[in-house]
Structure formats: structure tokens, C-alpha cells
């Protein structure tokens, strides 16, 4: 019954590698980008907040599938390149969407640290920058951990959507195998288990990390 | 001398106890044993104060009386009926037992008046108009007739606790349970709540009170029960317990209180 995985191992291994690569790149880009935008929106004053809020809100209002399709099919026409590599399109689409959500988490985390903490820091003679890096950011970072963890989990699950623009990730390869082998049950069920385990590992790791530091985030 | 100090008026009158804890034990689901063979009686019209250090099981005991915690062994007799028997309707027992909580536990989504009226409306199926009339009457009794329309969060702690007492009274219970009713209050608000409780006691309400207010226990209680580690240490009239504690553990407990507050109510 599980022969199918051996028979098509080449496709599956490629798919697995592409899925892992895609997610690794997206996590790095979206966390870095989201942090940058979140910090800028929190500390940047009204104009920065409103201007950067526009792309964030657009990305949060449109389905990821539509973002991916637009980036893959339509954006080359805007930039006159005619073609974009599906993997690159998937990285862009996923990172933009994930980054938008993460920027909101970062902004909310910074805002959740009570202003009395800032005052306490200033009262000790710290500069504004020191207050941010020594007092506010560490607490905010700990509080952001759980929601960022959930968002990363969402990103892993959503990476299956890259199959729609023919990125040879795990789900796409599986569909090819199903078409060829006519064994949807085994393949799709195993895939379910795979994603379940992957997501659980990520969630549990972040949980463990969080419980170790949680007390330091509650002022 | 000791004899006269130890006279229990209500018990002497020969009345049946209203509430009787007869060797009850209790353990929490996590295995923590909180009560071990605890026995004491509450007679009609009596004020019984439960004293003891933190974690001694006072709250658990009082929740057992209200059947909010299931006893694992022993008998709990309420108005002559063994309510630990299988076929007893807990809800019917709770309708006749009022309870006041340390943190008030008013319902934050209801007006003060509705908080007081909700028990009769939902549990006793009283007509709304009648329940609200009673609620207004009881709010007046606790000195808050002008606060009926506000939300609990707009009241001070002392006011909230007085509303909570009115809410419990609205069920016209046969006995009132108080679990540290003044512990969550700022010192200046303790008095107004104790005054309401004292008035209730004078009207003849049967009360079981967990408290750290030694002066209240001394002056209002008819009977004092001292607990430690889920067991009864000793019981007696307040005069006897405060002036001639027999057990070393009672003396130790009073000694600690004295260190903290610097006061013990003497005669």
C-alpha cells in the first residue's frame, strides 16, 4: 500500500525539499520584514503609520491564493518581464502576506507594554533608545512569541497553495503522483499526517520556548 | 468558670442543628487532601466563625456546605436531611443557602439591580416585577438604593460586597455563608460590610463566616471553629477560644496574627 512512496520517491523527495526551502525562506523574510514594518508603524508617527498601513491592510483583506496568482501571472506585465519563476513568485506572495500579519503582531506587542514601564526606565536615567532596547523590546518580544508561532504554522499550511502556481512543492508533487498512480487515499492521508506532525513540532517548540521565558514578559 | 464560658446557647435550647458536618473529608481532583474528618454543627440563628491559617481548608469546608464541592466521606446534614445521599437535588439545597464570596463575584454584565433580582427570577421563577421590588428593598437595606441602575464595576469594593450580600439575601435563604467577605477590601471599606453583617446577625440570620476579622469573631460569633490542615483544632464560644485557647496550635495561630496586626481583641 505504501509502495507508492517508494515508486515515486524522486518526486516526493524533491517536493519535501522544496516545501522546506520555501518555508525557511518565507519565515526569515516575513519575520524580518514584518518586524521592520511593525517597528516603523509603532514608532514612526502618524504619516508612517498610515502609509505603511495601506499595503498591510490590502494584504490582510485579499486571499493568499489571489495574491499568489496575481504575483505569478499579472505582476510580470507590470514590470515588463513577461515571466517570473514560480518558486520566486511563491516566496514573494507568501512573504508579503505573512509579513503583513507579523507586522501587526509586532505592532500590537510593542503597544501592549504599559507606558509606565517606559516612564520607569526614563526615571532611571535611560535614554529613549535604551528604554526601547532594554525595557520595552524584550517584554514585547516574549509576548509576540505565541502569535508569531501560530502565524508561522499558518504559513506552513498555506505553503501548499504554491501548488496552484505549479511550484514543485510537496502537495503539487503528490497531485502528480495521484494522477499517475490513482492512489489518492494513501497519498493524501500520509500528507495530512506529515503536515500535522510538522505543524505540531513547530507549535510545541515555540510553546516550550515561551513557557521558559513567559514570566519575563509580564510586567 | 470554663463551664459558663463554654455554654452554647442555641445548642442548649435543644434545637436540631441547621447544618451538621459529620466527619466530612474532601480531596481535590489533583489528589490534594483538603479536609479530613471535619465535624461541627450550626444551629438556627447562630453565627459560627471559621478561623485558621491560610490553606487550612476553610473555603473548601464552606463550599462543601453549599455542595459546590463534593465530599468524599462523611455526612452533610442540612435541615435534618442527609444531603450526601445520592438522590438529593443539589440545586434545591443551594436555593436555601446563600453565599458571599471573597471577590464579590457580582455578574459584570448585569446592572446592580438585576444582579440582586436574578436569583429569584431564574431559580425561583418569581415574576419579574416581584423580584425587582424585593431587589430594591434589599438594596435599600444595605444602603445602596440609589445604585440599582449602574454596573457593578462602577461601585467601590465595599459597595460591591454589600450588593453581593443583598443578592444572596434575595433568595431568602435559611443560612448565609461568607468566605472572607472583607479580605479583598481596602481597610476603610471593611467597616461598612461588617456593619451589614452585624445587622443580619442581630435579625437572627444563621451565618457561617470565614474571616480574619478577629474583632468581628469575638463580638458577633456565637461559636468559633478553629481549623488547621483540613482538621478541626478546637471549637468553643469566642470568649473561651480567645481567652483560654486549649490547643497549642490555636495559640500559635493567634500569635502569628498578633505579629501581623499587633491586635487581638481582648474582652
Amino acid at each position: 500500500m505504501f509502495d507508492v512512496f517508494f515508486d515515486y520517491r524522486g518526486l516526493f523527495i524533491e517536493g519535501l525539499l522544496v516545501t522546506l526551502q520555501l518555508n525557511a525562506i518565507v519565515v526569515v523574510l516575513s519575520v524580518a520584514g514584518g518586524a521592520l514594518i511593525g517597528v516603523a508603524r509603532h514608532y514612526g508617527g502618524k504619516i508612517v503609520r498610515v502609509v505603511l498601513g495601506i499595503p498591510v491592510d490590502i494584504l490582510r483583506s485579499i486571499p493568499l491564493l489571489v495574491v499568489l496568482i496575481w504575483v505569478f501571472f499579472a505582476s510580470p506585465m507590470v514590470f515588463g518581464t513577461r515571466y517570473i519563476d514560480p518558486f520566486v513568485a511563491a516566496v514573494i506572495g507568501l512573504s508579503l502576506t505573512q509579513g503583513a500579519y507579523i507586522s501587526e503582531i509586532v505592532r500590537g506587542g510593542l503597544a501592549s507594554v504599559r507606558s509606565t514601564q517606559t516612564r520607569a526606565g526614563l526615571a532611571l536615567g535611560m535614554t529613549r533608545t535604551q528604554v526601547v532596547t532594554r525595557v520595552v523590546a524584550p517584554q514585547a518580544l516574549i509576548r509576540m512569541l505565541p502569535p508569531i508561532g501560530s502565524q508561522v504554522a499558518i504559513g506552513i499550511k498555506d505553503s501548499t497553495l504554491a501548488s496552484v502556481i505549479a511550484v514543485p512543492e510537496l502537495f503539487r508533487q503528490s497531485q502528480i503522483v495521484i494522477g499517475d498512480s490513482m492512489q489518492p487515499f494513501v497519498v493524501l492521508t500520509t500528507l495530512m499526517v506529515f503536515y500535522f506532525v510538522l505543524v505540531m513540532i513547530v507549535v510545541r517548540l515555540i510553546d516550550m520556548l515561551y513557557t521558559r521565558v513567559a514570566a519575563r514578559g509580564a510586567s | 468558670m470554663t463551664d459558663s464560658l463554654d455554654t452554647r446557647k442555641m445548642a442548649m435550647s435543644g434545637a436540631e442543628p441547621l447544618v451538621l458536618l459529620d466527619g466530612i473529608s474532601h480531596a481535590y481532583p489533583n489528589g490534594k487532601v483538603s479536609l479530613t474528618e471535619l465535624s461541627f454543627a450550626v444551629h438556627p440563628g447562630e453565627v459560627v466563625c471559621l478561623l485558621g491559617p491560610s490553606g487550612s481548608g476553610k473555603s473548601t469546608a464552606i463550599r462543601c456546605v453549599n455542595m459546590l464541592e463534593p465530599v468524599t466521606a462523611g455526612r452533610l446534614v442540612f435541615e435534618g436531611i442527609d444531603v450526601t445521599a445520592k438522590d438529593v437535588n443539589q440545586v434545591e439545597v443551594r436555593k436555601r443557602v446563600g453565599m458571599v464570596f471573597q471577590n464579590f463575584e457580582l455578574f459584570p454584565h448585569m446592572s446592580v439591580l438585576k444582579n440582586v433580582a436574578i436569583g429569584p427570577i431564574v431559580s425561583l421563577k418569581r415574576p419579574k416585577a416581584e423580584a425587582y421590588d424585593l431587589a430594591r428593598e434589599l438594596l435599600a437595606k444595605v444602603g445602596l438604593s440609589d445604585k440599582g441602575d449602574v454596573l457593578p464595576s462602577q461601585l467601590s469594593g465595599g459597595q460591591q460586597q454589600r450588593v453581593a450580600i443583598a443578592r444572596a439575601l434575595a433568595m431568602q435563604p435559611d443560612v448565609m455563608l461568607f468566605d472572607e467577605p472583607t479580605s479583598a477590601l481596602d481597610p476603610e471599606m471593611v467597616g461598612e460590610v461588617l456593619a451589614v453583617m452585624r445587622k443580619l446577625a442581630e435579625e437572627g440570620m444563621t451565618m457561617v463566616v470565614v474571616t480574619h476579622e478577629m474583632r468581628f469573631a469575638r463580638n458577633v460569633a456565637d461559636w468559633v471553629v478553629v481549623m488547621e490542615d483540613g482538621r478541626l483544632v478546637e471549637e468553643g464560644t469566642p470568649e473561651r477560644i480567645f481567652e483560654q485557647p486549649r490547643m497549642e496550635r490555636t495559640r500559635a495561630f493567634f500569635g502569628k496574627l498578633e505579629e501581623q496586626d499587633g491586635v487581638l481583641p481582648t474582652g
Binding site: 490590502i58 502537495f171 | 453549599n66 454584565h109
Partner: protein, 224 residues
């Protein structure tokens, strides 16, 4: 792909909206039907997860975890391909979408409901019980109404996610906005115009929902 050199065809862009609007009806119907089914099922699952019986609790929790931790696209395909093979029942693509999304959304809602109920401190329930209420009455009169305001923001976010996730039904040929957009693109070759119109369609519908959810979060969300 047909190469085009000149700019944006406004006519093609403008005429995309009428067919896309038909797709929007399907998108909205899917969202509303799935939500109507998921709320009662989610409440049921939440109550099972708060059950006193260990086995019931474990099974309900496992069911919910599986639906929450696997990709919804995979769930859609699983219901599409595997359910007929297992049960012999073949559902129309529309019903496949309803079943898969209801499984998905009810699992998320059950977690929201469970957490909302658990966030009300147990003394509130005890206070209700001590007034002689039955367990059911204390839930309906005291715990439920308080939990509702805690639940509302997360509920709104789940709603918005569902609205966007329904775009996946285009992969099994249910004629929603994205399916019609992709069809239109193939027929007209006006890729940029059609796909931009499609994105704007989603934006017009999704933006107010997202903003409403944000507002609910600010207004009722638990702080600290």
C-alpha cells in the same frame, strides 16, 4: 501566453466586474452557509472538550487538533477524493467545499469557544450555582454572556479567514470569484486587467470585514 506590449486595457478591466460579481454571490453564500453550520458544531465540540469524561475529551480534542493543524487545501482534496472512495458517497464540488470548510471552521471555532468559556473564572459559575441555578442556567445566564464578548473578536477573525479561504474552492471548480476570474483570464487573455479586477473585488468585500474585525479586537480584545 500571448505577449502584449501596450498598457492597461481599461475596457477589459471594467467589463470583468459583472461576471466577477456573480462569483461574489457564490463566495458570500459559501461563507455564510459554512458559518451557520460551524457555529452549532463548534459549540458542541467545545462542550465535548470541556466534558468530564476523559475519553470524550481526548477524542474531541484530537479531532479538533487534526482539522486545525493540517492545510485547508489538503482537507478540500481529501474530502473530494478520499471521502467518495471510503464511503461511496460522491458529493458535488459545492457540497465538498461545504463539508471541508465546515470541518475546518468548526474546529477553529470550538477552540475559540472553549478558550472563551475557560477565561471566565470558576467563581462566577459558583456564584450562579449558589443562587440555586442549574448548571445549564448558570451557563446561559452568567458564563455564556460574559464569554461572548471575549469570543467575539476571535470569531470575527475566523469569519474573515473563512471568507478569504473560500477562494480555494476554485481548485475544485466551484464558481466563486477566483474561479470566474481565472476562467475569464483564459478566455480573454487580459491577464493583468482581469486578475487586478479580481483582487479589487476581494479587497472591496474583504477590507470592511477586516477593519470590523480589527475594531472588535480593539474594543473587546483581552489586554495583557
Amino acid at each position: 501566453m500571448i505577449a502584449r506590449t501596450v498598457g492597461f486595457e481599461w475596457d477589459a478591466f471594467g467589463s470583468s466586474f459583472a461576471p466577477l460579481l456573480e462569483g461574489a454571490v457564490m463566495t458570500v453564500v459559501l461563507t455564510v452557509v459554512v458559518m451557520l453550520l460551524s457555529v452549532p458544531i463548534g459549540v458542541g465540540l467545545a462542550l465535548l472538550r470541556l466534558s468530564r469524561h476523559k475519553v470524550v475529551r481526548a477524542i474531541a480534542t484530537g479531532w479538533v487538533e487534526v482539522w486545525r493543524a493540517t492545510p485547508v487545501l489538503l482537507q478540500l482534496f481529501w474530502v473530494f477524493y478520499v471521502l467518495p472512495a471510503l464511503t461511496g458517497i460522491t458529493l458535488s464540488p459545492f457540497l465538498v467545499a461545504i463539508v471541508a470548510f465546515t470541518g475546518h471552521v468548526s474546529a477553529f471555532l470550538s477552540e475559540t469557544f472553549r478558550a472563551g468559556i475557560a477565561s471566565i473564572r470558576p467563581q462566577q459559575r459558583q456564584a450562579a450555582l449558589s443562587l440555586g441555578m442549574t448548571p445549564a442556567q448558570s451557563f446561559i445566564v452568567v458564563v455564556g454572556p460574559q464569554a461572548w464578548w471575549r469570543i467575539l473578536p476571535a470569531f470575527a477573525n475566523t469569519w474573515v479567514s473563512l471568507f478569504k479561504d473560500t477562494a480555494l474552492v476554485s481548485t475544485i471548480a466551484v464558481a466563486d470569484i477566483s474561479y470566474i476570474g481565472l476562467q475569464l483570464r483564459q478566455e480573454t487573455f487580459m491577464t493583468l486587467e482581469v486578475l487586478t479586477a479580481m483582487a479589487l473585488m476581494y479587497l472591496a468585500l474583504g477590507y470592511p470585514q477586516a477593519k470590523l474585525a480589527d475594531w472588535l479586537e480593539r474594543r473587546f480584545g483581552v489586554k495583557e
